[in-house]
Symmetry: C2
Amino acid sequence: MAADHRMEKIVSLCKRRGFIFPGSEIYGGLAGTFDYGPLGVALKKNIENAWWRMFVDARDDMYGLDSAILMHPRVWEASGHVGGFHDPLVSDEKTGKRYRADHLLEEAGIDPSGMSLAQMGEALQSGGVKSPEGNALSAPQQFNMMFKTSVGSVEGGDMAVYLRPETAQGMFVNFKNLVDTYHPKLPFGMAQIGRAFRNEIAPRDFIFRVRELEIMEFEYFIREGQWEEQFDYWRKQMQAWFASLGFAPDDIREVEIPDGERAHYSKRTIDFHYRYPHKFDELGGLAYRTDFDLKNHIAQSGTDLAYLDPVTNEKVVPHVLEPTFGLGRHLLAVLVAAYTEDELGGELRTLLKFPSHLAPVKAAVFPLLKNKPELVAKAREVYLELKKEIPQVVWDDNGNIGKRYRRQDEIGTPLCITIDFDTLGEKPELKDSVTVRDRDTGAQKRFSVSDAIARVREGI
Amino acid sequence: MAADHRMEKIVSLCKRRGFIFPGSEIYGGLAGTFDYGPLGVALKKNIENAWWRMFVDARDDMYGLDSAILMHPRVWEASGHVGGFHDPLVSDEKTGKRYRADHLLEEAGIDPSGMSLAQMGEALQSGGVKSPEGNALSAPQQFNMMFKTSVGSVEGGDMAVYLRPETAQGMFVNFKNLVDTYHPKLPFGMAQIGRAFRNEIAPRDFIFRVRELEIMEFEYFIREGQWEEQFDYWRKQMQAWFASLGFAPDDIREVEIPDGERAHYSKRTIDFHYRYPHKFDELGGLAYRTDFDLKNHIAQSGTDLAYLDPVTNEKVVPHVLEPTFGLGRHLLAVLVAAYTEDELGGELRTLLKFPSHLAPVKAAVFPLLKNKPELVAKAREVYLELKKEIPQVVWDDNGNIGKRYRRQDEIGTPLCITIDFDTLGEKPELKDSVTVRDRDTGAQKRFSVSDAIARVREGI
């Protein structure tokens, strides 16, 4: 299956089945925004919950946070975003449409890595690169990617504020609050899942490059001398996390970011790339941010953010490791990893092979026939018993049983439970048993109702 | 306890113990924004999850959604927000500081309900109302409360977009997507929990009136003729929800909003007020929005959003009931309801009497003494066994046992489990038993470890 068709098929399935819709669609859309439908919300929640369980709840050294999207503008001066969170843009000299200079160079087969703005300008010119409309291009200019708005309580004196472009600063700004409240011992971390906004000039690749994104990340505070050992530890933890999502080792690549290409604050960064249909591209990353952030906030805010070691009584500014995980990018990778076309019983089918703990729907319950009240009543009884314990189950009595299986395969439901005439006692020895059908193999086996429920429970 | 002291005490406890911190505090704060610390995140998640379970997962007729904060600007023309989402503001003629005209009137003992802008201006003048700084006031003007930003891909052609001031429109805009995907039968609902932003001129009352808020709400689509019956049904459901959070009936008031004061789209609205320390104030509401929203989106977008009845084959534009719940306001009400000062064993104490299912920490595990390795080892074993099943448990070995109880009382932990010498077999008949101490009564009873764990499990 060609890579680009694969992406198209996933986009189409997501819309058709209620995972993801384009944002503001009835108004022609707003590029780079998406709305998650019922199955998308459920899948997203499952990824978030698994992440929070592994990195926050299961640990003694991690503290959850949920900080505001609107922050004081000086936060972004301290972090370097006001001065440096830029994309290099050129504009079409006729239409005025803006493009990423680095993207145009890549598309022309020229590698822009490490180029300065001036070098990109020269490379565009010497390469004879035109805009996609075929027109001449302006010289590249830096374009700040933060969305700006203003908060006002004084006439004519509104304060410009930004929508946060990352969640990390919320943790640094609350470092002192956490230390004063919990007195944690180094090393320890602060974790959050939240939205961030970037004024991407060219949103693309479905939910991969968007203007409104969600990030799961934590800042892990350490002593400077521990960084290499801790970097290795978190790298392995991230590998374990990716494995828990069912990603094949071959589909993940670790990319060491060389000197001169890392973010201004980082002394070492590894990006984790996933094999997306469009290319291997960033899923998450692990950065050693040194003490860059806390030091800058100390300088800018005048607040003492040093940590008083309870044992040595020394004051230290902790160093920071930052494992970061794009939530939308994770969701896309989970969809890509799950998307399968195969043949079952001589028919082509599409299925999503989600690991059970990520599947938005855990099981579907059917009466074999819709027009037999006794079947429907018994199926309804089983459905309600199951739903009481495991709410992520659905009822389906539409169309014939084969169609229902296909529908559940396509949304990745691991198990389908059918109530048939044997359940009602047509063969007395099978009374009260139901068939449980496996998504991946299509195999059906009979179980008692309670064993069937136990099988669903196992997969959560 | 005076009402205003109560709020001060809650604010102070929230900061001291890591529920809620003022936003961007080290930079002097950004009014109307708050950051949720570890306990605040946990409490918020518990409220959200309980809501989602009751109104979405447990039902067959409700569909989850998570739509983007940034929407096409025409959405807010259709919804009436561009034209009508205003606060009446006056400014101090000397300092330029803006104030809500209606708030100044209220503070001067004048009821502004139902007044036009001009009437407020007259009332301010005839009442001799000055600014809080004692200066003359400008005439009232309408001030749009939506935050504006811009999205750009064409030079000089940036598009103005708003941060959504409510989540409802995300559901209306996706109505057709949902119907095309799920073919639901009327009545059915779309539900979401998400952030919204309002440029409040005077954020106040802690997390009650903020600039960045979270809303839990659903739009329930019905046939016009059903609205009265459905209104009653949802009113009762909301009452049941409030009861499930442990709110005393006396602390909730239902306020019927009279003609002329309802939002422009509503034919009937009940506000649910909670007894906050500052006053009885809005916690949520139930509005009958008629077909206002879908009709306007049909007119503005040119998309057919009519619902084709699968039985009668009629096309209808559904009517809408909207139960809405402020998440931060719920969290504040849960804190207020839980906040208690009493006397236990001759000592004054502060405790949060959360219902167990909302408590951020379900249980704490202590070794009786910190410096006895055999106690610590056994306590650690119990702690890890419990945490494996119920991650929301904590370990505490700081200070004496009395202090630890007080600390857990103050954050509302329902149960404390202590491992003492009897657990280790000092009295052989008590070997492997632990004490379980109840937050509200302070009573301690001995249980086997597995019975103690079962008691924690019951409370989830």
